[in-house]
């Protein structure tokens, strides 16, 4: 099929999916232009004519990049993110810019200045977040793959809620150049796929060192294409006991039981492991990520670009106050305040420094588990299936706990993915596979085998 034809079909699907509020910018004209560009490419790239949704905190030059914030309303970047450049070179087409929680801060995509994203299977529910727009577009079949970003689970968690594959690569595998920074030591451009293969192909194209990002890692093996084997004999999978609490949602538990059973049947060996410091992951994350965010979001000051509002006093400080006070939503302001507080003189040691110490201990836990001989870890992705819109918006801590099983992996910088393993009451359940640093290929292969044997839409409780 020609790229032009794909662009037409994608446009029709985007139009049909408007009710999800999953996109912030798309046009048939832009899609057609992408198609014309792809058809003019010499030869067929690895992602020839693949339409891909791009989370709106990843910069492109042909549409605004707003981060779902009023403060960047209408802002058009003069350059394109490295990851998007690489996808385009491989023949992919940017289908649209996808809605998100403002500046990727949130777990439900309810914190968008441009309205919440609806869950494709139940409009009363949230798709998860912060990459909820990207997840919903893949789940609704609008695009086969989408870019999201992770700081603390923002792709795996919505992938689990929406019943799609969500892959977070190792920190340093994919260039962050052009990803609007939230928590720089955690941020990873990540990918949603309808299938493991879709996600893996996109990830493979984006991967590799970038001279424009000093935190990409050179000298590592390039990401090999996953090759799902016939069985999983010899594979050792660890089950961290801290990730299977007694009060785990029964549907989630049933989904994981189903996955464990399938692994056994495929010949894998399952072992109990322990990650004792993971229980500190959420509080640790909510010190480090806001601290970095407070600095990263300081540039939105109304001086050079974006929204500007002059306060009543008319001086520069009033400009900052009015611009930032009105430009940022409540959750973003909350995190800037927290981040500013934890870095303040007199509090740094008690919060930021301690959080860094705990972060190292959390990473060490994973290292020890892998050194004990397991190849992968298996956990639930989320403590519950998708919750209802409005359910947690008044209680930030409950919202933060939606990321309890994904945060620690981000702090450790490890690759992980969420795989749909069935449904409970019609709502998708996700299982999380975690691998050692830069060991994505094995993890994707195992996910590919599981995907083949597990019916992703089957009810997990009979």
């Amino acid at each position: 099929m020609s790229a032009v034809a794909v662009a037409r079909e994608t446009g029709a699907r985007l139009a049909n999916a408007e009710a999800l509020n999953a996109t912030l910018a798309w046009s048939q004209a832009a899609l057609d232009a992408e198609a014309a560009r792809v058809d003019a490419l010499p030869g067929r790239g690895a992602l020839h004519a693949m339409p891909i949704a791009v989370k709106d905190n990843i910069v492109t030059t042909d549409a605004p990049t707003t981060c779902a914030s009023r403060i960047l309303e209408g802002y058009v970047s003069p350059y394109t993110a490295t990851a998007v450049e690489r996808l385009r070179t491989a023949g992919a087409m940017v289908a649209c810019k996808a809605n998100l929680d403002e500046f990727a801060m949130g777990s439900s995509t309810e914190h968008s200045a441009y309205g919440r994203v609806k869950h494709p299977l139940d409009p009363a529910r949230v798709p998860g977040g912060s990459s909820g727009g990207s997840a919903a577009l893949v789940a609704a079949g609008v695009v086969p793959a989408a870019l999201g970003s992770e700081t603390g689970g923002s792709v795996r968690q919505p992938a689990s809620f929406c019943g799609v594959v969500g892959v977070k690569p190792s920190y340093g595998r994919v260039s962050r150049y052009g990803l609007v920074a939230f928590g720089s030591s955690l941020d990873c451009i990540s990918v949603f796929g309808k299938t493991v293969d879709d996600a893996a192909r996109v990830l493979q194209v984006m991967s590799g060192p970038d001279p424009l990002d000093a935190t990409t890692k050179a000298g590592r093996a390039p990401l090999a294409a996953p090759a799902p084997p016939a069985d999983l004999k010899g594979l050792k999978v660890g089950l961290p006991k801290e990730y299977f609490p007694s009060d785990l949602h029964p549907g989630v538990r049933a989904g994981l039981d189903r996955t464990i059973k399938a692994l056994r049947q495929l010949g894998a060996e399952l072992r109990d492991v322990s990650l004792p410091y993971s229980k500190y992951a959420v509080p640790t994350y909510y010190i480090i990520a806001p601290a970095e965010a407070a600095a990263n979001l300081a540039r939105y000051d109304g001086v050079r670009y974006g929204r500007r509002k002059v306060g009543p006093e008319g001086d520069i400080r009033a400009l900052y106050r009015a611009t930032r006070g009105e430009g940022f939503g409540a959750e973003v302001r909350r995190r800037i305040l927290v981040g500013t507080y934890v870095l303040s003189a007199g509090y740094y040691d008690a919060y930021y420094r301690k959080a860094q110490t705990v972060r190292a201990l959390i990473a060490q836990d994973f290292q020890r588990a892998f050194e004990s001989g397991v190849d992968l870890l298996l956990t639930p992705t989320t403590p519950t299936p998708a919750f209802k819109a409005g359910e947690k918006t008044d209680d930030p801590v409950q919202m933060y706990l939606a990321d309890i099983f994904v945060c620690a992996i981000s702090l450790a910088g490890l690759p992980a993915l969420s795989l749909p393993v069935g449904r409970d009451g019609g709502l998708p359940i996700g299982a999380q596979l975690i691998a050692q640093d830069f060991a994505e290929a094995r993890m994707l292969s195992v996910a590919g085998v599981l995907e083949r044997v597990l019916g992703a839409t089957e009810e997990v409780r009979g």
Partner: protein, 477 residues
């Protein structure tokens, strides 16, 4: 009651790179506003810094030239504050793990002879942009060309005891950094900037008094003036039983006074933390030694070598070593065959006058050496040589040999006895009374006759040759 002044200096120098600290933009001075900018130095969403390897090299060389040890591991940190000239809302600098620590400078104190001032640390950072207040009435313009320019910040120990010592420290620091070719240290272009901390205590008191920081110092002379004013202000406060309040002050060069910018309570909490965009800077021992190996001979070493090797005085050697080009010129003149002492006299004298005027030595070293040889051979007198030296023809090797230049200018001297005898006879004939007085025993008149012969010869006569001829003629009649 005697008071002791304690001063420490923070000096920012711009590193001599062609591109900025964390992006590829040009660092050229004087470009139209906001033309040397890109997403990185504008702080656009999604842009990331990548360190400039050459800036790190130059900073390491600067540190080694100042006797610091370069750390194997240093860390970039974010210094957070809001200001319109700061595009990211934070400056990338180094905080608790700087590039280098523990150096020292040695120099002459105006009061205490040769002293040592410790260099606490040297770290790398990026510059901010510039605010322009006089371009649009009632508005402030922002020029971000300078934003992201690489700087080294050099912090001294509080080892300086007078404004004069502060100035001497700066002069020495600049000399070394210019020598090492890490910065041009031009205060006019802002490539060297100074903040000074000063406190006062009772002489003999081991603890430090409350310090104030003085900013807006735009020349070494003004650093000295500002510190004198601040010292006097603090001494006056303490002398009348008042306290010094820790604060930041601005120097007004017009009035010669300092005025309060902000007190400590109003000071920023910069919330430093390691920059997650930049991995720790890890340098190998071999790399550090490479930087040490490419350092040129530094001023003190050069002075000592020139004195020892060429037998010139330590003072003259110090003058020659003041700048690398001066010493290089001197050594080239010697290499071209000139006597080192004569060469030193010329290079620190007439040649230096020209150098100070035009910023370079216009006479090729070989031609100066040739001129020096002509003086030694009595072909050109010392006086005439000065005229030959300033002739444009001397700077031009295609204008023939130095001797021919001197001849064309009529500045070669005559030492041929028969030619001299002609002028001597003319002088003796024209001054019969003086001849009589001389012959009557007034021997000191010989000087008068020599002068007359020089005048008659229009300076061409070799004075050393004139006297024997005069004596011979005066005594023979």
């Amino acid at each position: 009651m005697t008071w002791e002044t304690v001063i420490g200096l923070e000096v920012h120098v711009q590193l001599l790179t062609r591109s900025k600290m964390f992006c590829g933009c040009s660092t050229a001075f004087g470009a139209p506003p906001n033309t040397n900018v890109c997403p990185v130095c504008l702080g656009l969403p999604g842009a990331l810094p990548v360190p400039n390897g050459h800036a790190i090299r130059l900073a390491a060389r600067a540190a080694l030239a100042l006797g610091c040890s370069v750390e194997r591991r240093s860390v970039f940190a974010r210094k957070n504050y809001f200001y319109p000239d700061l595009p990211k809302g934070y400056q990338i600098t180094q905080f608790d793990e700087p590039l280098a620590v523990g150096g020292a400078l040695e120099f002459e104190s105006p009061e205490r002879g040769r002293i040592r001032c410790g260099v606490t640390r040297l770290h790398v950072e990026e510059d901010a942009g510039k605010l322009i207040h006089d371009r649009y009435p009632g508005k402030t313009a922002v020029d971000l060309n300078r934003a992201g320019t690489p700087l080294a910040e050099i912090v001294s120990e509080p080892d300086l005891r007078s404004p004069g010592e502060a100035r001497a420290y700066l002069t020495t620091l600049k000399q070394i950094l210019v020598y090492a070719e890490v910065s041009d240290c031009s205060m006019e272009q802002g490539s060297l900037r100074v903040d000074a901390n000063l406190s006062v205590r009772r002489a003999g008191d081991p603890s430090l008094g409350t310090k104030c920081e003085v900013k807006n110092l735009n020349s070494f002379a003004n650093v000295e003036r500002a510190l004198e004013a601040e010292r006097d202000r603090q001494v006056a406060l303490l002398g009348t039983g008042q306290r010094v309040v820790q604060s930041t002050l601005l120097f007004n060069a017009g009035t010669g006074q300092v005025k309060l910018l902000r007190s400590k309570e109003e000071s920023h909490d910069y919330r430093y933390f390691p920059d997650p965009d930049l991995p720790p800077l890890v340098l190998s021992r071999a790399w550090i030694e490479e930087q040490r190996a490419v350092l040129p001979e530094l001023p003190d070493a050069k002075r000592d070598r020139l004195a020892a090797r060429y037998g010139v005085t330590v003072y003259a050697a110090g003058e020659l070593a003041r700048e690398r080009v001066i010493a290089d010129y001197f050594e080239a003149v010697v290499a071209a065959g000139a006597d080192p002492k004569d060469a030193a006299k010329w290079v620190t004298g007439d040649a230096m006058t020209g150098y100070n005027e035009v910023g370079r030595f216009v006479v090729p070293p070989a031609r100066l050496a040739e001129l020096i040889a002509l003086v030694a051979a009595n072909v050109v007198s010392g006086q005439a040589a000065k005229k030959v030296f300033t002739s444009p023809k001397l700077a031009d090797p295609s204008a023939g040999s130095v001797r021919s230049v001197a001849e064309t200018l009529g500045l070669t001297q005559v030492s041929d006895t028969s030619a001299l005898a002609g002028w001597v006879d003319e002088v003796l004939t024209a001054n019969p009374k003086e001849v009589e007085r001389y012959r009557a025993g007034e021997a000191k008149l010989i000087g008068f006759f020599v002068g007359q012969v020089m005048k008659k010869s229009q300076g061409k006569a070799d004075p050393k040759g004139v006297q024997p001829v005069l004596v011979e003629r005066l005594n023979s009649k």
